[in-house]
């Protein structure tokens, strides 16, 4: 978890409210990723960023948006939270694209509960 922090670590919110999760890195890695982890589904990619203001969708992007205005910060926003978005969210970073061989380094996770 060194060099990657996520905030908040735990959050309980109500259906329909907006939620923003923050990922902060001190490694100056170019690529940042948001995943969600659910029982029976493993980790699924929500969005990723390959540079400041450069983002792209992952496998399960519906209902989520992201922003990256600085190299060190990657924000994940649930515009109107739903119960199906109850999950554990992980941020990850890598120096370059995973397809080029670089490994990913993960943050400690944020446990989000939507009531």
């Amino acid at each position: 978890d060194a060099g990657i922090t996520q905030s908040p670590r735990h959050k309980v919110t109500e259906t329909g409210t907006p939620v923003t999760l923050r990922c902060h890195q001190t490694e100056n890695h170019r690529y940042m990723y948001w995943y969600r982890q659910d029982p029976g589904h493993g980790l699924r990619l929500i969005h990723y960023s390959y540079g400041v203001k450069d983002t792209d969708k992952g496998e399960v992007s519906d209902g989520y948006s992201v922003s990256r205005s600085k190299t060190e910060d990657f924000l994940l926003t649930l515009e109107s939270a739903t119960s199906s978005q109850t999950s554990v969210y992980f941020c990850a970073i890598s120096e370059s694209r995973s397809g080029a061989g670089d490994t990913q380094y993960f943050g400690p996770g944020t446990r989000l509960t939507v009531l």
Binding site: G58, A92, G101, Q104, F106
Partner: protein, 110 residues
């Protein structure tokens, strides 16, 4: 759709025994990686094997890759109670993303 399928989903062994986990994937890969996750923590990278490699070792870990069968295996030798965790394979597809399997939960009994 899931790229990686792991087998078994759960494995329970005694300390000192070997643990083998298998992973299958569907499309061409650049490399395949294995990660470990302790309960309540983030994933930690263990080992990476490139598509042109067949076997790789790191300490008590041995990873094999068979691209003709689109499968990989992770062997942990002389397991310890501290190896208790979930293990995930992740395939690095050519478009530049990691796709994770559902994981194998390993319990090593003292």
């Amino acid at each position: 759709s899931q790229q990686g399928e792991e087998d078994p989903q759960a494995l329970s062994i005694q300390e000192g025994e070997n643990a083998t986990m298998n992973c299958s994937y569907k499309t061409s890969i650049n490399n395949l990686q294995w990660y470990r996750q302790n309960s309540g923590r983030g994933l930690v990278h263990l080992i990476l094997i490139r598509s042109n490699e067949r076997e790789k070792h790191s300490g008590r870990l041995r990873v094999t890759l068979d691209t003709s069968k689109k499968s990989s295996s992770l062997l942990i030798t002389a397991s310890r109670a501290a190896d208790t965790a979930s293990y995930f394979c992740a395939s690095a597809v050519l478009v530049g993303k990691l796709i994770f399997g559902q994981g194998t939960t390993l319990q090593v009994k003292p």
